[in-house]
């Protein structure tokens, strides 16, 4: 068949802007808008189409840790400390503090621009989770009210409208392929990026005074399915950590990249569609669960006290100030442990029978409607394939119970080597300005280490955008390195010159298998070194991939990025010599004598072809409140 779009392969264009944003998801759009509001000329590169792209392009259903919303009783300081201690300090306190301080402001922005953040129609008037004075709808902890239920399907279109109105140059169908850098006064400095038109193949050099990287965390590293590549991970097929890969190639410092977790509910082919099976977490909190006989499974509080009413599932235990639930919270420590159904093993011991079901039939009408109607209707990937399709199949939440698989919310039993970067994984090391180790290159959202969730993406995106605009106002426009541009152009187009070569999927599958073999649940030096060799060989083999059009080229560029990310993860794993439970990092050759020494962020970056390593203390960011004040808009001083 003929290619329906123009052919611009080999064409090299150039554009200038003040701030270049890579990635048009929630974080990227917020960054672009914030920079444009400060007067910067902004260009944003988005591989898909910003209107519905990114992990939350088709929606999300709740916004966590909005501590300055009028109903919330938890302060930003308390919440950030709780999240930090919950993760044994392998947490991103800078990001969380910005999120807890400013998340609510971002929600108000979104509302101003056409997003829906409250029940304006009175659909849930009188419900215990609704504040009838403001129409705000809360999730999880109804007393402390830090997480809001929102109509996330309205957010991306609203952000795109706002960005366009401010004159942001939105470059849809443009894959960000490389960071441009130079040495300026002995410091590696960002000077822009390279974009590849995913339909025509044109390559554009985007020169910029500052760059914001707002791309996804890595995926398809351990999990891949050649027949169903779109169903092998939680985030979009196209979101595979290209930002991490180009940062690594450019010498950017990373941390916590040795952290990975056993696959959870989210690999939709290996398990089931997220939020599409019986469970009582996240979107479905706190659904009633029943066993195969219809016997209700008890909810208990942190002291094992059985809860009698549905409302109690949404309230802290006696003597508890607040409890934590949400994206990164799996099994919280006692201090913040919220209501939960009895543990699976205990249920088996007591004779409960599989399969279990989520059973909304006996719940109060408002809880049933908010879980099935609103939450499942607003979460990404659920409005059409779950809410609409199940309804067409006859599912009625007032009559039917929805089956659970695996041990509840995981919806499959994954093996130890089937891993993901999930639950606040590693990423870019940064300072209070969200500036990376490369000068004038900022990061936001999923690119930051220990990052998670939509509210965090929006809040850090806005912060990074403001700081990038300030940096751009001081920085000169610098030339892109011609040799690097030409070299990258050759690399990007090379597969068009290969005839009857390999399919990109063969390399992706081989990389995933290598990572399962050499960087699985239990690691050791000799296996990890084998892993580096195997990935090195696959990099050679990737030169034999052939492509017939820009679409296939994009998939091939992604695989080459995945191989770089594999290398980064293997090096980070080699660097940490002692097992570390908070990072889900286990070694068979663990050197326990290093346990105390390695209670820190291990950082790594590439320099002159070698891997360099560093150490940063866990609480390097200092006092939260004063540093926030010092670095917020207008108060910012470089470190």
């Amino acid at each position: 068949m003929e290619w329906p779009y123009d052919n611009e392969a080999g064409l090299l264009a150039e554009e200038d802007c003040d701030v270049l944003v890579l990635g048009g998801g929630l974080a990227g759009l917020h960054a672009a808008i914030a920079a444009a509001e400060k007067g910067a000329r902004v260009t944003l590169l988005e591989k898909g189409a910003a209107h519905r792209s990114g992990a939350a392009g088709t929606g999300f259903d709740h916004w966590e840790m909005a501590c300055t919303n009028p109903g919330c009783t938890v302060t930003p300081e308390e919440m950030t400390r709780a999240l930090e201690e919950e993760q044994d300090c392998f947490s991103n306190a800078i990001g969380h503090y910005i999120e807890t301080r400013e998340g609510w402001d971002r929600l108000l922005d979104l509302e101003k621009w056409g997003g829906k953040i409250r029940d304006t129609e009175g659909e849930f008037t009188g419900a215990p989770f609704r504040d009838d004075a403001t129409g705000l709808m809360y999730a999880y902890d109804y007393r402390n009210r830090y997480t809001l239920r929102v109509w996330g399907t309205t957010f991306k279109p609203a952000l795109v409208r706002r960005a366009r109105r401010l004159g942001v140059q939105l470059r849809d169908r443009t894959e960000a392929c490389a960071l441009l850098t130079c040495e300026a006064g002995g410091v590696k400095t960002g000077t822009g990026g390279l974009g590849f038109d995913t339909r025509t193949g044109r390559i554009t050099v985007f020169r910029a005074k500052a760059v914001v990287m707002a791309m996804s965390r890595p995926a398809r590293v351990w999990l891949f399915h050649s027949d169903l590549p779109g169903l092998c991970e939680f985030r979009p097929l196209s979101s595979i950590g290209s930002g991490h890969a180009m940062g690594w190639r450019a010498g950017m410092a990373f941390t916590m990249m040795e952290k990975s977790v056993r696959g959870e509910f989210s690999a939709a082919g290996r398990s089931f569609p997220p939020y599409g099976t019986g469970n009582n977490h996240n979107t479905w909190y706190a659904a009633t669960m029943v066993d195969a006989r219809g016997v209700e499974i008890p909810y208990v509080d942190r002291d094992g006290r059985e809860l009698k009413t549905v409302l109690e599932r949404y309230l802290p235990a006696p003597g508890q100030k607040f409890f934590l639930k949400g994206g990164v919270i799996d099994e919280p420590k006692y201090e913040w442990r919220g209501p939960e159904t009895l543990p699976f093993d205990e249920l088996m011991r007591r004779g409960y029978r599989l399969p279990f079901y989520a059973d909304l039939t006996g719940m109060p009408d408002s809880e049933r409607r908010v879980i099935w109607g609103m939450m499942v209707g607003q979460e990404a990937k659920t409005r059409i394939p779950i809410y609409e399709n199940y309804t067409e199949r006859g599912f009625d939440p007032a009559r039917h119970a929805l089956q659970s698989y695996g041990t509840g919310w995981q919806s499959a039993a994954f093996l130890a080597q089937e891993r993901q970067l999930f639950g606040a994984p590693g990423g870019v090391m940064h300072n209070w300005n969200l500036e990376t180790s490369l000068r004038n290159v900022f990061a936001a959202g999923d690119m930051l280490y220990a990052s998670d969730c939509a509210g965090h993406a929006c809040a850090t995106g806005h912060w990074a955008g403001q700081h990038a605009a300030e940096a751009a106002a001081r920085a000169p426009m610098r030339e892109a390195g011609r040799d690097f541009v030409e070299e990258t152009r050759q690399r990007l187009l090379h597969p068009l010159t290969v005839r009857d070569g390999l399919d990109w999927r063969e390399i992706n599958a081989a990389a995933a298998k290598a990572m399962q073999n050499y960087c699985g649940g239990v690691k050791c030096d000799s296996l990890l070194r084998q892993g580096l060799e195997a990935i090195g060989e696959l990099k050679q083999a990737a030169g034999e991939i052939s492509c017939r059009n820009p679409h296939e080229l994009v998939r091939t560029h992604e695989v080459s990025d995945i191989l770089d990310v594999c290398e980064l993860i293997l090096h980070a794993s080699l660097q940490r010599k002692c097992s570390c439970a908070p990072l889900f990092f286990e070694r068979s050759d663990s050197d326990e004598s290093l346990a105390a020494q390695e209670r820190c962020y291990l950082t790594l970056w590439r320099e002159d072809g070698a891997v360099r390593e560093g150490k940063v203390p866990l609480q390097f960011y200092g006092d939260l409140t004063s540093n926030y004040e010092k670095h917020r808009e207008g108060g910012g001083l470089d470190e």
Binding site: P4, A9, G57, G230, L231, G269, G276, V290, R293, Y357
Partner: protein
Amino acid sequence: MSEYRYTVEVTASSVSPLAFDPSRCIGCCRCVEACQIDVLLPPQRKGGVPRVVWPGECWYCGACVMECPQKGAIRLRHPLMNQARFVERASLRDEAPGKLP
């Protein structure tokens, strides 16, 4: 004229995530423009429906259906292995009563 020539073939997959109803589709291609994975290409000739060229790459977000102005013109369907079961609540009974918890 570029030195490279582009061609394209449907990349086969065992699944068919998207089905178009030609009697409802008006060929506006909003679905093609909404898909962030770009699994669709516009119709080959005027009046046709978009082509699902990379069905295996669909990540089942539903953006195409959400943006479609013609209800029912596109159907998104998870593969059979992903169809979770649901039952009448009333059918869940203790067939062989044992020791109740």
